[in-house]
Point group: C2
Chain length 230, copies 2
C-alpha cells in the first residue's frame, strides 16, 4: 500500500464520519462553522468577541484544535460559552472522528446548540481536505500576513464559503493591497463572501454576526429534502 | 501497512537523502539554513533584505517551497541572488529529495554557495519533521501572531537553533508580551538563540547578519572530524 493509497483510505473514512456528523447536526438544527487560518490570524479572538456579542440570544459552543495547550478552549469558556479542546498530538488538522469523540465526551453541553464553531489547528494547508460535517468553512487572513496569500494557498480560499480579513485596524501600519486580495479571492471563489473585520475596533463585526444569523435561519427554514420514489 | 508505518518509511527515506545532502554541503563548505514559519511571518522579506545587505561579500542562494506561485523565488532573484522555486503540489513541507532534485536541475548557479537559504512552505507544523540536510533550522514568529505561539507549536521552537521575532516595528500597535515569548522559547530550547528584528526598520538585522557569518566561519574553520581507528 503506497502513501497515496493510505491517504485516500484515511480521507474516505473521514468522509463517512463527516456525513454522520452532518446528519446529526441537521437533526438538531445546529449551524456548524469550520474556521481555518494560519497560526495567529485571530481565530480565537474572533470567536471570543462573537461569543460576548451573541451569547445572550444564541446558544453557542466551540471545539478548538491545537497541537498543544488548552488555552483556546479556556479563552472561549472565559467568554461565556462551552468549549472543548482537542489536542492533536502533532497532527496538522482536525478530523471528523475527533469531533464525534469530543461531542460524545462533552455530552449535553455541546448538544442542541444553535451554532457550533470548530476552530481548526492553525494551518492553511492540511485542514483543507478534511470535512468535519460543517455547513461551511471560513478562512481568516490577517492583513499582516501579506496580500499574496490567496494565490499561494489557493485550495482553502477556493473552498471556504467566507473569507474574513482580520486585524483591519492595522491597515495604516502595513503594506497590504486589500483590493488585490479581494480580486484574488473572487477569481478563486466567485460565489464566496468577503468580509473585512477588526475584532479590536469592531469594524465589520455586525456583518459577521448578521451572516451567522442568516445562515442559521436558512438552515432551519429550508424545506426538508424529501426523497421521492418514482 | 498502517498510516504510521508509511510515515516512518517516508521519514527514514528522507533522513537518508538528507544525510547525503549534508555530506555534499560539508564538501563545498556551504552553510544551509532551513527557514520555517507560518504563512506571512516574513520569511521572504527577511531573505530579500539579507540578500541586498550581504550579496556583495557572500555568495548567497535560495530555494523556496510553496503550494503555488513562483513569487518567492522571483522576489529573491529581484534582490540579486539565484533562487529556485519548488512547488509542492499540496504538500505542507519540503523534503530532502526535492532539495536534491532542485540543486541538480539548477546546476552551477546553486553550487558552491557560501550560504543557501531554504525557505520552507508556510507552516509551523509539517516542516518540523523533515531534515533537509541543513546546518540548522530558524523559526520566524511575527509579533502580530500573538505571544502564545511557542507553547502552542512547541516542536519547532524546541528544534530551531534560532528564533527570529519579525515585524518588531509593529510592537506599538499590537498586544504582544515579548518577554513572555522569550521565556517560552528559553524553556523549550535553552541553548537556542533569540533575535528581535524588523526588516522594515532594520532593527536586529546586523545581529542576524553577524550570526550567519559566524556560523559560516565555524563551519569552515572547525577542525575536520578524523575517525580514529583504535
Amino acid at each position: 500500500m503506497t502513501e497515496i493509497d493510505v491517504k485516500q483510505r484515511v480521507l474516505a473514512a473521514n468522509a463517512a464520519a463527516a456525513d454522520a456528523l452532518r446528519a446529526a447536526f441537521r437533526a438538531t438544527g445546529t449551524l456548524v462553522v469550520n474556521i481555518i487560518s494560519s497560526p495567529g490570524s485571530g481565530k480565537t479572538t474572533l470567536l471570543e468577541v462573537t461569543a460576548r456579542a451573541l451569547k445572550s440570544r444564541l446558544r453557542l459552543g466551540g471545539i478548538d484544535g491545537d497541537i498543544a495547550t488548552e488555552r483556546d478552549a479556556e479563552r472561549l469558556r472565559s467568554a461565556g460559552i462551552p468549549a472543548r479542546q482537542i489536542l492533536t498530538g502533532g497532527a496538522c488538522h482536525l478530523d471528523a472522528r475527533q469531533i464525534e469523540k469530543a461531542l460524545g465526551e462533552e455530552g449535553p453541553r455541546l448538544a442542541g446548540l444553535d451554532v457550533l464553531f470548530i476552530e481548526n489547528v492553525g494551518n492553511l494547508i492540511c485542514p483543507t481536505s478534511y470535512d468535519l460535517g460543517e455547513d461551511f468553512k471560513v478562512v481568516l487572513l490577517s492583513l499582516v500576513e501579506g496580500d499574496d496569500k490567496p494565490l499561494k494557498y489557493p485550495a482553502i480560499f477556493a473552498r471556504a464559503a467566507v473569507t474574513v480579513i482580520t486585524k483591519a485596524d492595522l491597515l495604516p501600519h502595513v503594506d497590504f493591497d486589500l483590493s488585490a486580495v479581494r480580486r484574488q479571492v473572487a477569481a478563486l471563489n466567485p460565489s464566496g463572501r468577503f468580509l473585512v473585520t477588526s475584532a479590536r475596533s469592531g469594524e465589520g463585526m455586525e456583518t459577521w454576526y448578521a451572516m451567522l444569523e442568516e445562515e442559521l435561519a436558512v438552515k432551519r427554514g429550508a424545506p426538508v429534502q424529501v426523497e421521492v420514489v418514482p
